[in-house]
Every structure is written in C-alpha cells, then in structure tokens.
Symmetry: C2
Subunit: 309 residues, 2 copies
C-alpha cells in the first residue's frame, strides 16, 4: 500500500487513511515508513466561528489552487459528538463536486476527544496526503468550538474566516482566533457590515502586532468567487515570508513538537481512564497525588525531569 | 499567608489567588505546602453552551448551598482572548451580590491557552479554596467553547446546563457535552420548548448510558428559583453515589492525573515556542522529527518510555 500510495494510487491512499482513522497498527506502520517522504506540502489551516462559511471558502480555494495546477488535499476535522453523528455530512456532500478530479482529495475525519492538539489520526492523514504529493493541504474545522488552536498548531499558514456581522467579529476576538491568524478573510463581503468588520479587525490586529508582519484582512465572497484569487495569493505570500525570514524551519519544529506532544497526550489520557495509569513508577506518583502525599507540581516536575533525560 | 489562609483569612486567600494567577514562585510554593490539606471539597463543574444561563444558575446554586450552611467557593474560568479582555465582567458583577457574605468566595480567572486541561492556575485556585474549607467548589466556564472537557476532568460532578430551545440541545449533542454530564439541567423551564428538550435529552441519555447510572435531567428556572433545590440535592446524591460505588477514589485519581498532565503540557507547550525545546536529548528528538529522520510516533514512544521509568 505504501509503494502504491507513493506511486500516486488514490485507492491505496484511501485505504491507508481508513487504517489511520481506526488507529490500527497497519496505519501507524505505514505513516512511520512514509514519514521521510513528507514535509514538502504547504499546510494551511482554515478556521473561524460557526456560520462564517469555512466550507464554502475551502471549496472556493480548492478551485483557485486547481487553476494553478496544484494538487489539493483537504482534511475536514469534525469535532462533533459520537452521539450526534454525521454533523459534517452536508459539508462532505458540498465538497463532493471534486469527486471526479484526481487532483483533489477530500477526507472528513471525526477527531474529537484530543483537546491537547490535533488528534494523531488527523496528523497522520496530513502526513499521508503530503507523502502522496498533495500541496497545499487545507485543514478545516467543522462544527462548534474546540479544534481551532489545534489546527493552528499543525499549520504553516492559518486563515481565520469571519462572517460579515459584528457579532461574528466579536466572537472571533473572544475565542482568541486573532492571535493565531496569518491571514484574515471576511467572508460574505456582499452582505452589509462586512467592510465594517474588516476595519474593526484591521484596527485590532494593528494594535496587537506592533512591529513585524501584520496579517492582511481580505474581503471575500466565497459563493461569488470575489477575492478568492487574492486570498490564494496571500496564502502563497505567507509561505514565501516564512521562507525569507527563516520562520519556516521554526514552524516545522513547532508542528513536529505539537504532533509528538499530542501523541504523548493521547496515550496518557487513554491510560488515565483505565486501572493501570501511566505505567511503572508514574502510576505510583499519580496515586500519591490523589491521596495528597505528593503535590501536582512536584509530580509534574518529576515527569518533566524524566522527559528531558 | 499559608497559615492565615488555613485559619480562615479571606484576605490571605485573595492574595494567594493573585500569586497563583500570575503563576509566580510564591503561589506555587503555597499550593505545594497546602496541598496535603486539600481533597475534602466536592468539586462541581458547571458547563453548557453559551446563553444557557450558566452564571445565573451558578448564582442560584450558591443560594441553595448557603441555605444548607455550606461555605461555597466559585471559580469562573474565562477562556476569552486577551485582546477582547473583560468579557466575563458582567458575570463577575452579577455574582457580586455575595460580596458581603464570608461564606461565599467567587473568583474569575482568565485561563485561556491550556487546551490540554484546566490551566494549572485554575487547578491551583481550586486547591486554595479547598484548603480554605470551601465545600462545594463550583467551577464555571464563561464565554465560548473550549473549556468544557477540561472542567469535566477537574470535577467530581459535572452539571451540563441547557437552554430551552431545540437549537441549544443539538449544540450540546454536537459539542459532546452529554458524555461528560453527571446531571443535566434544562434551564429557563418557564419558556416554551424546555420540556421537549428535556425529553430529547432523556432519550439520548437512555440510549447512551445502557446499564449503570443514567444522569437525571431536571427542569429548572434559575431566575425564578424553581428546581434549584432539587438540583442541589441531585449534586449531593451524585457524590453519595460515587462514594457508594467506589467511584470517588477513581475520580480523585483521574482528577490528579489530569492536573499533573496539564502541568506537564503547560511546560512543554511553553518550551515548544522557544528556542530551547523540551530540554536535553528530547530537543534533539524533536529536531529529528522536524527534519523527517524520526517519525512523530517513534518520538512519542521514546518519551512515553521515559515517563514510565
């Protein structure tokens, strides 16, 4: 499957993605083998409050990158509850228009329950698309809250999408999305209030980013296609900026660190629920914290000391 | 300050809370010394979608517990952006009615940026209130998204608050709040739709919790005070259930584990942004992941092996 994926076989990619989503040994072994062939794709996170039109804009961006002859990978991360199920179904259908185009690969993943970062399965999906030659890879969060910061930690370039209403703008401020934005897109620019939201965001960003690069704020209409070309250009310009300033290597290191940390977290969290804890003497350490003979900070210091060995 | 806090001095508690919020050495040393005096309070998380009336219900619960002569601590966690600032100010003012009552201590904390769990500062605030003899301690998330799962991980009993509209119910399903609920409160029960939301939630919970305890769904009106007494009763009943089934020790261990893990995460995340990474050979390991000579899973396995030593 690994050889076929590297040879451009979409069916092999789809099968490996299913293994990775299940978190089984075959998926893990495949990513381990492919990982040396990754690191070439530009990873672009697309985030913003619910209702801002992220999926529609992602769809429009696919078109803009296809027009530049780029092969585009998309990972749509749905943090919905397993109870509610298929909340992202509408989005999957919407992006289905690319189904017949081998230059576009869209995958939705249910990736809740890893608050510490992007779920390892989602990170592995990005690695698989990267190894298969897709570039850029767009990562989009579907549904409510949560995944934004994790997406930012996994991306070279973060697009924050806003709706035209003042309420949406304030919501983004509240949710801390401005801090993570490399490019801002005010969507539905044909609706009233969009220009005002853009002005508000420019003011806030100007105050926040004193010195250094201030993220551009673009007015776009994903449905009409207005401003999408310019947005694709700004995405490329941000990557060039990272390359020019030496920031790219630093982002690669941060992405790698977040990836590793999310995997460590996922294992630790899994063990926290079970009878056996972190294993070995770490288990005993946690028991001591629970019965108040060791403080949480002291226990954390012991564990951090071991990590740094 | 530690002696004065244990002696019931509210000013000492307030000063130590400020140290803990700044994350300085004095705060950390104080919690380390006080930690042996904690573990007695019933920690109750109050969460739910924005607009469900969490703050009003928290306020009503304070009254119900005061009527039972309990000393009530409240930690309101505001995950808002540092740019937006004082989003929780309205709530702080609302709970100000208890200002003259020494049996109530309310503290708001800006605690964004720790997606891996409750921020160590918030966990420390709980430890301080616990050592100062407050019981129960109510933890409430303010503002949008994010902190719910972290609050659940720090609590013995989790109250999920719903609004009366069908939209709110669906939002809770989507956000995965039902899985973490020990008690559900459908607030604004005087408004149309509340009974229907309660019925929907009972159906969903019945299907989800096959065998074992099914979380009760209560209709409450925090403003009118209806159902609040019963909710306080169910909170106590859940603690009794944990004691009877041996689940309390397990929750204590999970809370301790989440607390330690959040501290480890906070340090690691802080280092990820800097020039120096995790320290020692771990730094080298991350560099190898960034340049693709080691895979993220292999690096995580090395670090987990060290933790288990």
């Amino acid at each position: 499957l690994v050889e076929r994926l590297l040879g451009g076989d979409a069916a092999a990619l789809a099968r490996l993605l299913s293994h990775v989503e299940r978190g089984d040994a075959l998926g893990e072994a495949a990513v381990d083998r492919l990982y040396a062939d990754t690191g070439r794709a530009h990873i672009v996170g697309i985030t913003g409050p619910p209702g801002a039109g992220k999926s529609t804009l992602t769809n429009a961006l696919i078109g803009a990158f296809r027009a530049r002859d780029r092969r585009v990978g998309v990972v749509a991360i749905d943090p919905s509850s397993p109870i509610a199920g298929g909340a992202a179904l509408g989005d999957r259908i919407r992006m289905g228009e690319w189904h017949a185009d081998p230059g576009v690969f869209v995958r939705s993943m249910a990736a809740r329950g890893h608050p510490g970062g992007l779920a390892p399965a989602a990170a592995d999906a990005i690695h698989l698309l990267d190894a298969a030659g897709f570039d850029p890879i767009l990562i989009e969060t579907v549904g409510v809250g949560q995944g934004e910061i994790a997406v930012a930690g996994a991306s070279h370039t973060v697009i924050v999408v806003q709706g035209p209403g003042f309420g949406d703008g304030v919501q983004a401020l509240k949710a801390g999305l401005l801090e993570i934005a490399d490019v801002l897109a005010v969507n539905k620019a044909d609706q009233p209030g969009a220009a005002e939201v853009a002005r508000l965001l420019r003011d806030e960003l100007g105050a926040f980013h004193v010195g250094g690069r201030t993220p551009p704020v673009l007015l776009v209409s994903a449905i009409a296609g207005d401003g999408v070309e310019q947005l694709a250009g700004e995405i490329g310009a941000h990557l060039a900026h990272l390359r020019d300033t030496g920031g790219l290597a630093e982002r690669q290191r941060q992405i790698a660190g977040a990836d590793v940390l999310a995997r460590v977290d996922a294992v630790l969290r899994g063990r926290l629920g079970g009878q056996s804890g972190w294993g070995g003497t770490a288990d005993e350490l946690l028991r001591e914290v629970a019965v108040r003979t060791t403080s949480p900070a002291a226990a954390a210091a012991v564990l951090l000391g071991r990590l740094a060995q």
